[in-house]
Structure formats: structure tokens, C-alpha cells
């Protein structure tokens, strides 16, 4: 699997450097939108089984950093090497990233096709069961509550069994049962996946974290 290097010059060719099993290596990453500098001098390493907890106040650039890690944006300056191909990254955003006019099943089926998920139907069924959405699988997403939408978004992010999970406020909107389900999922996946998680409630997942990054 080729390593992607995102630098200020954009996507470069395959880079044959060994970062000793690192999934992400960031050095002096900066991101600007016009004149506004959103991120400045961010650096960290994330191992294959690493769990990076990103904290910081509103506007500190947490979401921007996560978008950079997911490959949805390119740094303005600095170096950001992300090993997994984009199809091996699971991204949970503030928004659900699902079509509101489609049912949960239709949404996951579309993503399953696009993400080349093997045994798609079985995998979708298993996730919907696990996150308590099986009975609502034929309901349109626009009839879902905020918590159900977050569960569906988690199903979508986990559908293709990603190597790197980039989660932006994953507990947002979840009730205690949903939060416990997510705790269990994170715990089960920890040995096989790397995580970058941004949250305002670090106490909940501090236990999982192998490293922390506080943005100012």
C-alpha cells in the first residue's frame, strides 16, 4: 500500500521512506484559508495501534486537523504523511455524511458499493444490529433523531473496516447507551486500527489515548 505525502506542494509521488510503522507523521503542519491561519506548527506521530486525542477550544483548528488527516484538505505548509489509502480511512464529521432522503439501509448500501466492502449486506446488517438501528433500517434518515443519525454516521465510518479512524466529536448527540456502544467499539478496534479523535470531553476517552495533542 503506497504512502501518501501531503505537503504544501500537494499530493506527491510514492515516498519510499520508513517511518517505523507510523500511520501518520506530521511536521510543522500549517493550514490557511485566505489570510486566516487556522493551524500553525502542528507535529505528531501516530503508530498503527496509536490513539491520538485532540483537544482545544472552539476555533483552535481541531476539525481542520482532522480533515487534513482524512485527506479532505491539503496543508498550506509543513509535511503530513498519511500511510493508509483514502479507502482505508473512516471519517466521522460533525455532519452525518448521509443522504437524508435515503433510508439507513440505502445509505450504507451506497457507501458499501463505493468503498468496495466485501460481503456488504452482512457487514451492513451486523453494524445496524450492533448500533441498535436494525428496526429502523427502512426509515429515511430525515426521520431519525440526532442520536440515531450519529449512530448511522458511526456505522458509515466503520463500514469498510478502516485502518485509520478519524473521529470528530464522536460522542456528540449519543445517549448513554449509544456512548457505551461506542466505548465498546473503540475498545475492540484499538489493536487493529489507529485513531485520531477530537473531543470537548476528553475524560471519556482519556483511557484509550496513547498520545494527546492540545491545540491552542
Amino acid at each position: 500500500m503506497g504512502r501518501r505525502r501531503r505537503s504544501c506542494t500537494g499530493y506527491g509521488p510514492l515516498v519510499l521512506r520508513d517511518y517505523s510503522g507510523m500511520v501518520i507523521r506530521a511536521r510543522g503542519v500549517e493550514k490557511r484559508y485566505g489570510d486566516k491561519r487556522v493551524l500553525r506548527g502542528v507535529g505528531f506521530d501516530l503508530a498503527r495501534d496509536g490513539f491520538l486525542l485532540v483537544t482545544g477550544p472552539n476555533g483552535s483548528g481541531k476539525t481542520t486537523l482532522l480533515r487534513l488527516c482524512a485527506g479532505l484538505a491539503i496543508p498550506t505548509a509543513g509535511e503530513l504523511d498519511v500511510t493508509p489509502e483514502r479507502g482505508r480511512i473512516g471519517y466521522l464529521a460533525h455532519e452525518s455524511l448521509v443522504y437524508r432522503e435515503l433510508t439507513a439501509l440505502e445509505n450504507l448500501d451506497l457507501y458499501g458499493r463505493l468503498y468496495r466492502v466485501a460481503e456488504r449486506r452482512e457487514r451492513i446488517g451486523m453494524l445496524l444490529e450492533r448500533f441498535g438501528l436494525w428496526d429502523a433500517r427502512h426509515e429515511r434518515a430525515d426521520s431519525y433523531s440526532r442520536g440515531m443519525l450519529q449512530r448511522l454516521a458511526l456505522c458509515r465510518a466503520l463500514l469498510h473496516d478502516p485502518e485509520l479512524l478519524v473521529l470528530d466529536e464522536p460522542y456528540s448527540g449519543l445517549d448513554e447507551e449509544g456512548a457505551l456502544l461506542l466505548d465498546r467499539e473503540l475498545d475492540e478496534r484499538r489493536p487493529s486500527s489507529a485513531f485520531v479523535v477530537a473531543t470537548h470531553d476528553p475524560a471519556r476517552i482519556e483511557l484509550f489515548a496513547t498520545s494527546k495533542l492540545a491545540l491552542a
Binding site: R67, A70, L72, G87, R88, A93, R100, E101, E106, L110
Partner: protein, 212 residues
């Protein structure tokens, strides 16, 4: 084959969304019919066929613009475009799937509009229909790329017409020319060339439009 399967899945999804939400096609139908009715009463009785056909092309372009302004609405509302962009499939499949659905909506609007035009203003010839088909392909190709660019902007309602209308001028020239001249082949060839050129440009450049 996987590429075509992705394109098919994305285009089918758009058609399904429209069947459920019904927020684009009915607006396009209402707009094109209303425009033709207005033109029918505005044009003097002794107007030339050229004027009527020119107005049909105005109606087609602005109806397409209406559809294009909604093309990425569903993706924008819930940030779905990020999920699609992260998929391992070629990103141009997103453009092609969306262009096919835009083409389908435009064709459906014209299936209603052309008989109405024939009723109000007179006959429609084969070259004119061929011109409309070729123009639709160009409109869908260019319009989908520009709609994706505009969707990322706050001023999307303003930006899309500003970007699209100048690029639609050659389509109107070719379409009107194919509709009114005795030698339409030249204009149809021009439209075909426009389609091929811009389809390749849009296909190749879509990836850069959806990455920050």
C-alpha cells in the same frame, strides 16, 4: 467495470433522491412551461421563426441553470460530498454520475417543453432535436463541474450563473445555428466538439474541485 458500477450507483441514487424529494424536476418543468407561455404572449404575431427558436434556447439554458443550482444540494446539506470524496473509487465517477442525472432531468424537462413549444410557435425539426441533445450533454458536463465549484462557496447562487452563462454561449450559438440554418451539420459538429472537449476537461479536473 468498477468505475461504471460506481457511476451507475451514484446516478441511480440521484434519481431516487429526486423521486423522494421532488424538489428539482417539478421546478424545472414549471419554469420552462411558464417561460414558453410568457414568450408566447410577449412575441408579436408576425415574429420570425428565428426569434421563437432563440427564445426556446434561452428557456432551455435557464431551466438547466435552475436544475444545476440544486445539483449538489443534497451533498452540501449533510456534508455527504466528503464521504464520497473519501471513497476509493475514482473521484471523476462522482462528476459523471451527477452529470448523468442532470442530463436525465434536463431531458425530462424538454420532453414536456418541446411539445409545448411546437404548440405555441410551430414545428420542430430533426436538426433542432439533434442540437438540443448535443447541447444537453455540454450543459450537463460543464454545468456539473461548475455546480460543484459553486456548492463549496457561500455565494453559490450568484457564482453559478456567473460561471456557467459565459461557458454556455457557445452552446447557444451551436444550438440556435443547428435549429435555423439550412446546413446544420456544421453547427452540430461544433456542438459535438464542444461536448468532447469540455467533457474531457471536466472529467479530468473534478478531483481538484472537491479537494481543499
Amino acid at each position: 467495470m468498477m468505475y461504471l458500477a460506481d457511476v451507475g450507483a451514484l446516478a441511480r441514487k440521484d434519481l431516487r433522491l429526486e423521486l423522494r424529494a421532488r424538489d428539482t424536476l417539478p421546478a424545472m418543468l414549471l419554469f420552462v412551461l411558464s417561460t414558453l407561455v410568457v414568450f408566447h404572449f410577449v412575441l408579436p404575431g408576425d415574429s420570425s421563426e428565428l426569434a421563437a427558436k432563440g427564445l426556446l434556447w434561452v428557456a432551455i439554458v435557464f431551466t438547466a441553470l435552475l436544475g444545476l443550482s440544486r445539483a449538489f444540494a443534497a451533498e452540501r446539506e449533510q456534508g455527504v460530498i466528503d464521504g464520497l470524496v473519501l471513497a476509493p473509487s475514482d473521484r471523476s465517477a462522482i462528476w459523471l454520475g451527477k452529470a448523468l442525472s442532470v442530463l436525465a432531468f434536463l431531458a425530462l424537462a424538454e420532453v414536456v417543453a418541446l411539445p409545448a413549444f411546437a404548440l405555441f410557435f410551430g414545428g420542430i425539426g430533426g436538426p433542432m432535436i439533434a442540437g438540443i441533445v448535443l447541447a444537453d450533454i455540454g450543459i450537463a458536463s460543464v454545468g456539473t463541474l461548475l455546480a460543484a465549484m459553486a456548492a463549496a462557496s457561500r455565494a453559490r447562487e450568484l457564482l453559478l450563473p456567473l460561471l456557467f452563462l459565459p461557458l454556455a454561449i457557445p452552446i447557444i450559438v451551436g444550438g440556435v445555428g443547428a435549429s435555423v440554418t439550412s446546413d446544420p451539420a456544421r453547427y452540430l459538429g461544433f456542438l459535438g466538439l464542444y461536448d468532447a472537449l469540455f467533457a474531457i476537461i471536466c472529467w479530468a479536473s473534478f478531483e481538484y474541485v472537491v479537494t481543499e
